[in-house]
């Protein structure tokens, strides 16, 4: 996308800590994104993956830590900079969070109009382009309640992409979907990765992670405890926590572990 060509990270989240109800949910977690990076966060339930992700666009304000957009440190106490950060960082939620009262096209168009100041016609034109990119050009007039889960998630992706984010955060984008609908959403995400959209994704789709991720971060109890390429962490006999976790995941889901290659 509009990523800088040099080697400066486009986004860095450094030494994030977050307390919720007196408990330290995130403890010194960092992540750095370069153009084209696709990083996958995995880890057991309650590890703090969602919290980490939501701190990166300040839906939850980190108690400690810094966010850097390129060379610039974001002062997220400053509301201007905060809203600017959120425009740079798109987010996809597990439960879609579409605006229930708006048709697909208006879901995409709303922020274009209100944040970007586009006219209604311009915003709708852009909305149709984005919906076409996720294969939903014929569903533009339908409302969330008239769409399948997979279609809703694709509208959510179109809505996030319409804001021209420099990076996309995805929090378990397929885990609320019926199994037969997972594929259509993963295809869209894979396509984005192929086009170089930097992404941080929480997912338990390990085959997908192995195929697309440039790095896997394994989280537990608020810490990133392992970090490395899928080849490193998931190599047969690697004896990593990641490997171990994935094996248990496969056993749980009854899937067969993916062989190397």
């Amino acid at each position: 996308m509009n990523a800088p060509q040099n080697d400066t990270p486009i986004l860095r989240a450094e030494h994030f800590s977050k307390y919720l109800t007196g408990r330290k949910i995130l403890d010194d977690c960092s992540i750095s994104m370069r153009p084209g990076d696709v990083k996958v966060l995995i880890g057991p339930s309650g590890a703090g993956k969602s919290t980490f992700l939501q701190c990166i666009n300040c839906l939850l304000e980190p108690d400690e830590g810094e966010i850097w957009l390129g060379e610039r440190r974001v002062d997220f106490k400053n509301t201007r900079e905060l809203y600017d950060l959120r425009q740079h960082v798109g987010m996809i939620f597990q439960d879609f969070k579409l605006f229930d009262h708006l048709s697909a096209e208006n879901n995409v168009a709303l922020a274009l109009r209100k944040v970007r100041g586009l006219s209604k016609a311009e915003a709708l034109k852009r909305a149709h382009e984005e919906l076409a990119r996720v294969g939903l050009e014929d569903k533009a007039k339908l409302y969330p309640a008239q769409l399948s889960g997979g279609q809703k998630q694709r509208v959510a992706i179109a809505r996030a992409l319409a804001m021209d984010p420099t990076i996309l955060l995805l929090d378990e984008p397929t885990s609320a979907l019926d199994p037969e609908l997972v594929g259509e959403v993963l295809t869209v995400i894979r396509d984005l990765a192929a086009r170089g959209m930097p992404m941080i994704m929480v997912t338990h789709q390990m085959e997908f992670a192995r195929a697309v991720a440039t790095e896997i971060l394994f989280m537990e109890a608020g810490h990133v405890i392992e970090q490395g390429s899928p080849e490193e962490l998931l190599a047969p006999g690697a004896q990593t926590r990641t490997q171990d976790f994935c094996t248990r995941l496969y056993e749980l889901c009854g899937e067969t572990p993916v062989e190397e290659g």
């Binding site: 839906l59 425009q87 798109g90 969070k97 009262h101 209100k114 944040v115 309640a145 008239q146």
Partner: protein
């Protein structure tokens, strides 16, 4: 046929009062809406002091009889601050401020019934809280509020009869005036009752139409 001719003779006079009642109700509902929406938003989203201030307002207006409020404001407060808006204006303001207390709680309930995710989604797109509340939260919350609002309409309409005590020339005052002169209490009050009944039905029917028109496609008849 004496009764009938009394009614027919009094009818234009009472119908003029009907117009006044409609103005009262429309004015009070509008004022209540304009105050009630920001009050509900403040109670849900504003910092504690503002939310508590609204809470106090609601507590006060819900805790005191409308009749007392009418006297308190019209003879008391308005005189004190030198506000002269006439009986119709005063009735409108007092009914409207009372209605605001009730309406704010209808809207607050609807806002709270929406998932917090809607606000999160707006924020994640770079919209301000204000923009998200105006363009995402309220359009949904107001739709959900129509049944409760319809109820508030019918209650307010009947409360407006109390403005009679200020001498506001609405249905009740005029009916009472004619009845006390002609001694035809029964037929006249029945007529007034029928008029109230008709206005209630008309309003409730209109609001039900609105509710259907505003229904979000894909949701069942329960609304959401």
């Amino acid at each position: 046929m004496h009764i009938l001719s009394t009614i027919i003779e009094a009818l234009p006079y009472i119908l003029e009062g009907t117009l006044v009642t409609i103005v009262l109700v429309a004015g009070a509902l509008s004022l209540g809406f304009c105050l009630g929406v920001p009050m509900a938003v403040a109670q849900v989203y504003a910092p504690r002091p503002a939310a508590m201030l609204v809470g106090f307002y609601v507590w006060f207006f819900r805790g005191v009889p409308v009749l007392l409020l009418l006297f308190l404001f019209y003879y008391g407060l308005f005189g004190l601050i030198g506000l002269d808006v006439g009986t119709i204006g005063a009735s409108c303001i007092v009914l409207g401020m009372t209605s605001a207390a009730y309406q704010s709680q209808i809207f607050r309930g609807s806002i709270l019934s929406l998932s917090a995710g809607q606000l999160k989604a707006g924020k994640a797109l770079g919209m301000t809280n204000g923009q998200t509340i105006i363009h995402v939260i309220l359009p949904q919350a107001l739709r959900l509020s129509i049944p409760g609002w319809s109820n508030e309409y019918s209650i307010l309409l009947k409360d407006s009869a109390m403005c009679f005590a200020l001498g506001t020339p609405e249905i009740m005052a005029r009916t009472h005036f004619v009845a006390s002169r002609t001694y035809e209490h029964l037929p006249l009050y029945i007529t007034a009752g029928l008029i109230y009944f008709a206005i209630t039905m008309a309003g409730v029917t209109m609001l039900r139409r609105l509710e259907q028109k505003a229904r979000i496609p894909g949701y069942n008849s329960a609304g959401m």
